[in-house]
């Protein structure tokens, strides 16, 4: 078509708009238990399905496999193993970060799941898949009931 070369729609007759909505999401029943335990007690909670022998981290209200409702919440260790990681040098807008940021999938001990989080207090070149790490919490006064209540994971 004749407009193939025009990449910016604003160069054509156009209308401008945006999504004006704000959103407030509830964490849900299982999410709320998880985040309250993070904020109030500095603990990690998981749910467990004994029938399927699965421990869900983060906890779920139901078993993905047998579809039973899960009401058995248990505290699990703050430690885990780096299953995979990546190092990012840019922020969301493409600007260079002052320090490279290490993001990892951390399989939490005694569970079948894990968390995506940052890994700190480690030199990027000494990172390894399989490294044991532990959650470092923010001071209680600064916690808000979110994953960022954990400042980062660091070598255990």
């Amino acid at each position: 078509m004749s407009f193939d070369k025009i990449r910016d729609p604003r160069k054509l007759r156009h209308q401008i708009g945006h999504m004006e909505c704000d959103y407030v999401y509830t964490a849900g029943v299982a999410g709320e238990r998880f985040y309250l335990a993070l904020r109030e007690d500095g603990k990690l909670l998981a749910t467990r399905c004994d029938k399927c022998n699965i421990t869900y981290m983060p906890p779920r209200m139901y078993c993905d496999k047998c579809f039973a409702e899960l009401t058995n919440y248990k505290e699990v260790p703050l430690t885990g193993i780096i299953e995979s990681y990546t190092i990012t040098y840019f922020d969301m807008d493409g600007e260079v970060l002052p320090e490279p940021l290490v993001l990892a999938f951390i399989k939490i001990d005694q569970t079948d799941g894990g968390l995506i989080h940052t890994v700190g207090n480690i030199k990027p070149e000494s990172l390894k898949i399989g490294t044991k790490v532990k959650a470092l919490f923010k001071d209680k006064a600064k916690r808000t009931g979110a994953l960022t209540d954990i400042k980062c994971f660091q070598p255990a």
């Binding site: 407009f3 054509l12 007759r13 156009h14 401008i16 909505c21 999410g31 709320e32 309250l36």
Partner: protein
Amino acid sequence: MSKNMKELPGTPLSGKELKSEKVITFKWRPNAKYAWSAGIAYGRFLDELKAGRIIGRRCSRCERIIVPPRMFCEHCFVATDEWVYVKDTGTINTFSLSYLDADANRIKDPILVAVIDIDGASPGVGILHLLGNVAPDKIDVGMKVKAVWKPPEEREGSVTDILFWEPLED
């Protein structure tokens, strides 16, 4: 209903509870912005509005003159084949009085909303627009109206280049 189900599941929350410390919530504001290019038919439509005219398209198969214009007829599924100027007068097909703004906030003076069948277009072919210079209780279906345009220097190629439609004096 299910024999084993004594109470239906679900945990109601009041607006106040939602704001309390006990209920964990996460907030988000989307930051996506859009520029919708008007396309071929609407592009010309908006250009003509800027010039103070309303333009439609004619389908030579079903003989309809349609506004807003499109490059194809959705009934015959053939390309429409002619630009046709229509008038800036019309008839109120239906109307309402909105005491809600776009976010459902209450407003005191109603927005006067109408579907206006355009003179010169086929019968029943109308556009969504606003009414003005008329008392709400004087508006009626079937009333003749005329477009009130923005001054030419303020027009920007938008349906808002027509400020509103007012009753047409005989």
